[in-house]
Subunit: 200 residues, 2 copies
DNA sequence: CGAAGCGGGTGACAGCTGTCATGCACGGGC
DNA sequence: GCCCGTGCATGACAGCTGTCACCCGCTTCG
């Protein structure tokens, strides 16, 4: 019997997945969590065989969960199920030692099979994404990433300078760096590109 | 027996919802569609009692589906199920004559109940949203909306002028209007605010 | 008819943005 | 000890942005 915990903040999907998986032989739902922290408490108290988790959740993200599990040496395999086909997410997931990464637009039948494969020690990566993992690494420095996030939110250079304690000119230098690294022609486009790759 | 069609582009959710609803008495799944156009063909060929649909889908959005159903006078009640708690979306949905609007983070058990209520001619609105429907209407003109979308994509004023055939100064005038209508301090913030409200 | 409103436009100005050259301190490597 | 990379900064300049005042042609309506 493979014991699983489902962590997913969308109630409808969480409930529907639970009812889908309850019909599968050999899979037992040990718990359902609606945010990352709840999932972490559940896992620490009674580690399941497999954690099926979303990435973007309140409290703790799925990637943070995977990292915490690895850090504490828990014997829980992690299967990420997310909307986002972003190379940056996949890369971080693999670095955090996850066993599987599926997209939410794969057919529902594939989920139980993926859970069984992961439980058996195999690695399951969404086919469209397997190739992307080795594509371009994140070229942004931490400072560039931080400033780009603020620019994305609509702050102008002086406001960003105030918010970060940097000089105005320095802010523009960092954004310039980010823009040219990303091949964009202004900060808006740069932020869009970086977000699409999962680097923000 | 209530016959329903499910239109939802995320395969996992679509499949899981189908399996959830298949266990309900009195509900029969007449079809599943993975994009708006497929759903429309399905509905026209053989109208179900209720259409359960996402909003953002390739081909045709759920709002367009609802409008098309209303235009052709089909006797299909529409239940929107979406991630987005945006007043603009809810308003447009109500104008298109939908019978229900649920968020994807409502508990799964509520879905079957909502479908039955809608089939019985009742109207079901997610409680958090009911109040928002009468909040601020979209203040943007069509031109403002169009230019804001281009600005959001990272085009600067000259590029937007080229793309729309307007003069550069005019582009700035429209964006200025949009910025001040929305109480933003630049085009980036304006685009973010408008998108958050569902006006873009 | 005339006034008002609307879509589209111009010109001007202060301030922001993108680009580049250049400077300086500091912490490694050799 | 010297050299280089890195992080942060400055100054300058062309071009873009936000704001405002004002113009024109075309409905629309009293």
């Amino acid at each position: 019997m493979t014991r699983i915990v489902i962590a997913e903040d969308q109630g409808l999907l969480r409930g529907a997945l639970a009812s889908l998986l309850r019909m599968e032989d050999g899979i037992e739902i040990a718990g359902e969590a609606s945010d990352g922290r709840e999932a972490w408490n559940m896992i620490r108290r009674d580690p399941p065989d497999v954690l099926v988790t979303d990435i973007e959740m309140p409290g703790m993200t799925g990637l943070e969960l995977a990292a915490a599990i690895k850090r504490d040496g828990l014997k829980v395999r992690v299967l990420i199920v997310t909307t986002w086909a972003r190379p940056g997410y996949l890369r971080r997931a693999l670095e955090a030692g996850v066993s599987g990464y599926l997209l939410k637009d794969t057919p529902a039948e594939a989920l139980a099979a993926a859970i069984r494969a992961v439980a058996a020690g195999e690695r399951v990566i969404a086919p469209d994404l397997a190739a992307m993992a080795w594509e371009e690494a994140d070229p942004l420095s931490d400072t560039e990433r931080r400033l780009l996030r603020l620019a994305e939110a609509g702050l102008d250079s002086p406001a960003i300078a105030d918010a970060t304690g940097l000089a105005r000119g320095t802010v523009r230098n960092y954004l310039h760096e980010a823009i040219s690294k990303l091949g964009a022609s202004n900060r808006i486009e740069a932020a869009r590109l970086a977000r699409a790759k999962g680097w923000l």
